[in-house]
Amino acid sequence: MKLAISSSTGTPDTKFSARFGRCAYFLIVDEGADNWEKISNPAVNTQGGAGTQVVQFLADLGVEAVISGRYGPNAYDALAAAGINAYLANSGTPRQLVDQAQSGSLSLATGPSGEGMHHRGGRGGRGGRR
């Protein structure tokens, strides 16, 4: 199984990133292997819909499970439609989190986390384009 873990540094031994749609990198690794691959997130600066763009990107790479901190409603729906398992993590490095996912100690998201990121904080002129 191919896993993708959100990361701000792109290395398996520093703290993972809790951001899914707009993390800087994804670390891609095969379950049970040590073939860590660092990939820049193509959606990091996208105007809107980062979550759906990321899911499209990861699905095209053949990723079957993701590990991140939270998933917005659009990202969650897209992951579910793609049949990609979404693990929820609080802390740890990608290496530790992959071990936890394999041992069954990491829980799967059963719904979106919070209200979603799209157009967050629009009032007051700080939001995205609407």
């Binding site: 809107g48 729906d77 009032r123």
Partner: protein, 291 residues
């Protein structure tokens, strides 16, 4: 018809207070038909002061794609052309995210199989009616959870009316981004309401820059004067923005507004002040027409 918009940058500076006071000052005595358009569609509140009977309503919708899966080949062109990532292709099937769709129609136009048709997705409502002192009011209401304010503001401003007002007063949303641009585009004059705090000054500059980009003439009202030390007057002087009025920090005003009274209910003398302000604004507009 003359159109004057009220904006601020920072929220809570007194846009609605000013919009209502201006409308009240000009409506009855001058026999003007005054229309207030409350464009703060996420949180409209002019109706709380004007108490209209809304007798007309209209739905606002954007057109979103609906894919006929029997015709779709899963080529993915729709997802490629979507600038908002509102369509993705999973397992050769398009998946549409209505809340991300801006209704631009690119997917429909570019589909080589004509497999996409557009269906309306309701995102809000418009309402209009006559309120206190014969002031006409219309406002937009964005449905909770919907992210797109601009189509609601646009629909509100385009909503044709049998009535032909002499003056439209537009109460803009706060901020300095797309919703504000949509609310103030094409007006004859923009009144910027601010407060003398660092936040008020900072956001005033942003709103003023937006107005400049749009080529709209502006003037400033300082509200809650005495609240802070920020040099609003200095900024206005340096940028040749006329100072139109100063409203002091006054607990009686705050308490009255909180009860639902208008500024003119609290201090009737503001009627003459706003009439004078309107004269001054009118001169600026006339001068601009002569250029």
């Amino acid at each position: 018809m003359r159109r004057i918009a009220i904006a601020s940058g920072k929220g809570g500076t007194g846009k609605t207070t000013v919009a209502v006071a201006l409308a009240e000052s000009l409506s009855v005595e001058n026999d003007q038909i005054v229309l207030v358009s409350d464009c703060d569609v996420e949180a409209p509140n002019v109706h709380l002061y004007l108490n209209p009977d809304f007798d007309q309503t209209k739905e606002v919708y954007v057109l979103i794609p609906q894919v006929d899966e029997g015709i779709c080949t899963g080529c993915g062109i729709c997802a490629e052309v979507c600038q908002y990532n509102a369509i993705i292709i999973l397992k050769d099937r398009p998946l549409v995210f209505p809340s991300l769709c801006h209704g631009c129609g690119s997917c429909t136009l570019n589909c080589p199989e004509n497999a996409i048709r557009e269906i309306p997705n309701t995102i809000g409502n418009l309402e209009r009616g006559i309120g206190n002192k014969n002031i006409y009011l219309r406002h937009g209401l964005l449905n909770p959870g919907e992210p797109l304010t601009v189509p609601v503001i646009s629909a509100l401003r385009k909503w044709n009316d049998s009535l032909s007002p002499q003056l439209e007063i537009i109460d803009s949303p706060p901020g300095a981004s797309c919703p504000v641009v949509e609310a103030i585009r094409g007006v004859d004059f923009l009144i910027l309401v601010t407060e003398p705090t660092p936040f008020g000054l900072h956001d005033l500059k942003q709103a003023h820059q937006v107005a400049n980009e749009l080529g709209i003439r502006t003037g400033v009202i300082i509200n809650r004067d005495g609240l802070g030390e920020a040099d609003i007057q200095g900024y206005c002087r340096d940028n040749s923005i006329p100072m139109l009025m100063t409203i002091p920090l006054d607990q009686k005003i705050g308490a009255g507004l909180a009860r639902g009274d208008t500024l003119l209910d609290i201090y009737p003398e503001y009627k003459d002040k706003f009439k004078a302000l309107y004269e001054e604004v009118g001169q600026v507009i006339e001068e601009a027409l002569d250029l």
